[in-house]
């Protein structure tokens, strides 16, 4: 009985310790949601409302390496009016591929599973596997000219927009 207990402890302890380390990412506090990032100037957007893709430059933390001013993602920006801009995350809400501006214009298309989105980000083709439209991001115009976007990634494959 004692031998069994000692053996259980002798194997159980290192296993438990290892599993605890393995589960460390779960205990790690998520970084505070990224604040607004400056993306581009309003004049960089075509007046006809055609979408343009811009990288989001911010700080990227990759476990032990940290780099500043590198692309952490990308957004589509589209001018809606004189002083109004719409922003979408380029990540497809379906399986996380990168959506492209459709070749014929007039919308977006994901090359992986052919999810089609309209210019307004809504699902354009009912056959699209994406559970929701493109993820719209909050935008702000500062000093009348600078486009700032609240950059966030969302969980893919679910109907609701859940930030990660």
């Amino acid at each position: 009985m004692l031998a069994a207990g000692l053996a259980a402890f002798a194997t159980g302890f290192p296993v438990a310790l290892g599993v605890r380390c393995l589960l460390d990412p779960l205990r790690r506090k998520r970084r505070a949601p990224e604040l607004f990032v400056r993306i581009a100037n309003l004049s960089a957007l075509p007046a006809d409302g055609a979408p343009r893709r811009f990288p989001v430059l911010s700080e990227r933390v990759n476990v032990w390496t940290k780099t500043r001013g590198v692309p952490v993602g990308a957004v589509f920006l589209r001018r809606l009016g004189e002083a109004s801009v719409e922003a979408f995350n380029v990540v497809c809400p379906h399986a996380g591929c990168v959506v492209q501006v459709a070749a014929e214009g007039g919308g977006y298309l994901c090359p992986c599973h052919n999810s089609a989105f309209g210019l307004d980000g809504r699902i354009a083709d009912p056959g699209s596997p994406s559970p929701r439209g493109l993820d719209a991001l909050a935008t702000e115009l500062r000093h009348g000219e600078e486009v700032w976007v609240k950059f966030q990634n969302f969980r893919t494959g679910v109907r609701d927009q859940i930030p990660i």
């Binding site: 393995l22 589960l23 990412p25 779960l26 790690r28 998520r30 581009a40 100037n41 004049s43 960089a44 075509p46 055609a50 343009r52 893709r53 990288p55 990759n62 476990v63 032990w64 390496t65 692309p71 952490v72 993602g73 990308a74 380029v90 379906h94 399986a95 996380g96 591929c97 990168v98 959506v99 492209q100 070749a103 014929e104 214009g105 090359p111 992986c112 599973h113 052919n114 999810s115 699902i123 699209s128 596997p129 994406s130 559970p131 929701r132 990634n153 969980r155 893919t156 494959g157 679910v158 109907r159 990660i164």
Partner: protein
């Protein structure tokens, strides 16, 4: 030696047979992977900045490294295929019936284990294909209700793919999963020696000693598998169809779309199946369908107790195999007919070639990894930037830089070989000057330059034509194009004459352009340093600068002044247009 005899030389009821080689062959494919895997691991470094780099080095700089990697990857696919075929065979021949139901259940555990080994292996080279084909199962995992997100975080070592994703995948791929699979296969090998269907009935054939009768058969079958694997690895090399073995695409880049993302061929059926599930429900397809299939398979030994049940089992096994095959064929044929997919494959291959060429270049791979090489490479980034920012008006050799054809007709010049003699000669051609490759689509289509070329140049005498040729050489020499250096050096005298001619009244250039002397009244782009790196960089930054078009600028945005592009991107675009990029002297 008794354990040795026990393992190898015991009598096998029912005698030796080729059908009994299955378990030995499966064990052999496992050991082949274990051996090659160990040596692969001695060359591997698992972090996002070193994984691709270490695999690249193994593949192209370590003697025999490509073969090691090829055998490992192809054997992995062979093992999955053999396991699936064996499962089919057992199901159809009803070898799942008691007392062998345990063998059958073990087989059902081994197949998912082998698949998990494959999936964890895809990511390790950390190239575009591996990254994107591992990304999708990881995302699907995150969709599993309740435990999905936590499981995904633990597996990835965080909420996104990072160094820890690789270290964790390496640990799973090289220790935990092979341990389970190896033990399972040994157990399966032991179990399959149990007597066939009915132990009480007298065996049809007398028992044979495992050694040498069965051993010889096992050895022959194993060597046949090895030869087949080698054939698959080496065939493309012999026929000149490629490198052979697994490819290595460009380093993984989470921000660069990879339109050719597909799982390995034996998972294509699931990929195609998921397309039939509407948004938000594919977790049922990805987890539910395989779970139901496994459950039905696991119930076979019990369902098979009835005659009707046995028929059902056979029909199910055949239907399953047929369905998978059909789905795979649909996926393949759709991709074949999809021009966008084909274009994505071509682009991925080109980027891969470039990444390898740069890695083998004089500067080698920097400590930040090979992705940095691509990010700073004009040949890689130029076309992407051009397609994204310039191709709505301009063209590059008739296309959008990446080979695509925009729907609208071009409304500005074609910039392929901009500043070269050929480009300038075409600009000064009375037919071409207001054509689609130059001023045709612009507000300058009836401007002074077009008028000068259509009327003035058209009536040039032969002597003036010869002078114009020297002017063209002189203006083109201003660009100092790397591709034209030899030509410029050869024609130094003519270029010097040309420089004098630019200012003559005959040639009329300085009526509008300034050349090497400040001219406040100049109304057209400066010819000083025309097409040089500094000139083009500043032009793209701000074409409305008085030195260029000033207030006459048509529609071209000020990419620098308006911060559409940063200085690094404008530099890349400039270098690409000037064809100033590293060119390897030979392949990687």
């Amino acid at each position: 030696m008794s354990w040795w005899r026990g393992l190898f030389c015991e009598a096998i009821p029912g005698g030796a047979g080729w059908r009994r080689t299955w378990s030995a062959v499966l064990l052999f494919t496992f050991f082949l992977q274990a051996i090659t895997g160990f040596f692969l691991l001695t060359h591997y470094s698992g972090s996002t900045q070193t994984a691709w780099e270490s695999v690249y080095y193994l593949q192209y700089h370590v003697s025999g490294g490509w073969l090691l990697r090829g055998i490992h990857a192809v054997t992995a696919q062979a093992m999955v295929l053999l396991l699936a075929l064996h499962l089919m065979q057992v199901a159809i021949q009803r070898a799942y019936l008691a007392p062998r139901q345990l063998n059958f259940l073990l087989l059902l555990v081994l197949l998912p284990l082998a698949l998990a080994l494959s999936v964890t292996g895809w990511l390790l080279p950390f190239d575009q294909k591996g990254y994107w084909s591992a990304r999708v199962p990881l995302n699907l995992l995150g969709m599993v209700p309740a435990i999905g997100p936590a499981l995904q975080t633990v597996l990835m070592g965080g909420t996104e793919v990072s160094h820890y994703t690789l270290t964790r995948f390496v640990a799973l791929h090289t220790v935990l999963l092979p341990l389970c699979l190896g033990l399972g296969l040994v157990a399966y090998h032991r179990l399959t020696r149990r007597p066939a269907v009915d132990a009480s009935a007298p065996p049809a054939t007398p028992a044979a000693a495992w050694c040498p009768d069965q051993l010889l058969r096992d050895a022959v079958a194993s060597v046949a598998v090895l030869v087949a694997v080698l054939f698959v690895v080496l065939w493309p090399r012999w026929t000149g169809g490629g490198e052979g073995g697994p490819t290595l695409l460009a380093p993984a880049d989470a921000t660069e779309p990879y339109g050719a993302a597909r799982p390995e061929w034996f998972m294509l059926w699931l990929f195609q199946l998921l397309k039939f599930f509407p948004g938000g429900t594919e977790v049922w397809g990805a987890v539910g369908v395989p779970a139901v299939v496994l459950a039905v398979l696991a119930a076979m030994p019990w369902v098979g107790r009835w005659r009707l049940g046995r028929r059902f089992n056979t029909a199910f096994a055949l239907g399953l195999g047929g369905g998978m095959l059909a789905l795979t064929l649909i996926a393949v044929s759709r991709d074949r007919r999809d021009p966008q997919f084909q274009a994505a494959v071509r682009e991925a291959d080109l980027t891969a070639e470039r990444a390898k060429a740069l890695s083998g270049g004089p500067d080698g791979i920097p400590p930040t990894g090979a992705l940095t090489l691509l990010e700073r490479d004009p040949l890689t980034q130029g076309p992407r930037l051009f397609a994204r920012h310039c191709a709505s008006c301009h063209r590059y050799d008739g296309h959008d830089g990446l080979g695509g054809l925009p729907a609208d007709a071009p409304s500005a010049s074609d910039l392929k070989s901009f500043g070269s003699r050929a480009w300038l000669r075409r600009l000064l051609d009375p037919v071409e000057v207001d054509g689609p490759k130059h001023f045709g689509g612009t507000r300058f289509s009836e401007g002074r330059m077009v008028r000068f070329v259509k009327r003035g140049v058209a009536e040039f005498t032969e002597e003036q034509q010869a002078q114009l040729e020297k002017v063209i050489a002189a203006v083109s020499a201003e660009a100092e194009l790397p591709g034209q250096r030899a030509l410029d050096d050869r024609d130094q005298a003519a270029i010097e004459t040309g420089r004098q001619l630019i200012r003559t009244e005959d040639m009329r250039c300085t009526e509008c352009h300034q050349f090497r002397q400040p001219d406040e009244d100049a109304s057209a782009p400066d010819l000083t340093g025309y097409g040089s790196r500094a000139w083009l960089f500043e032009f793209i930054s701000n074409p409305s600068h008085p030195r260029f078009y000033g207030r006459r600028n048509d529609r071209m945005p000020a990419y620098g002044a308006n911060e559409v592009l940063d200085a690094a991107s404008i530099g890349l675009l400039t270098d690409w247009l000037r064809e100033a990029w590293y060119q390897p002297t030979s392949g990687p």
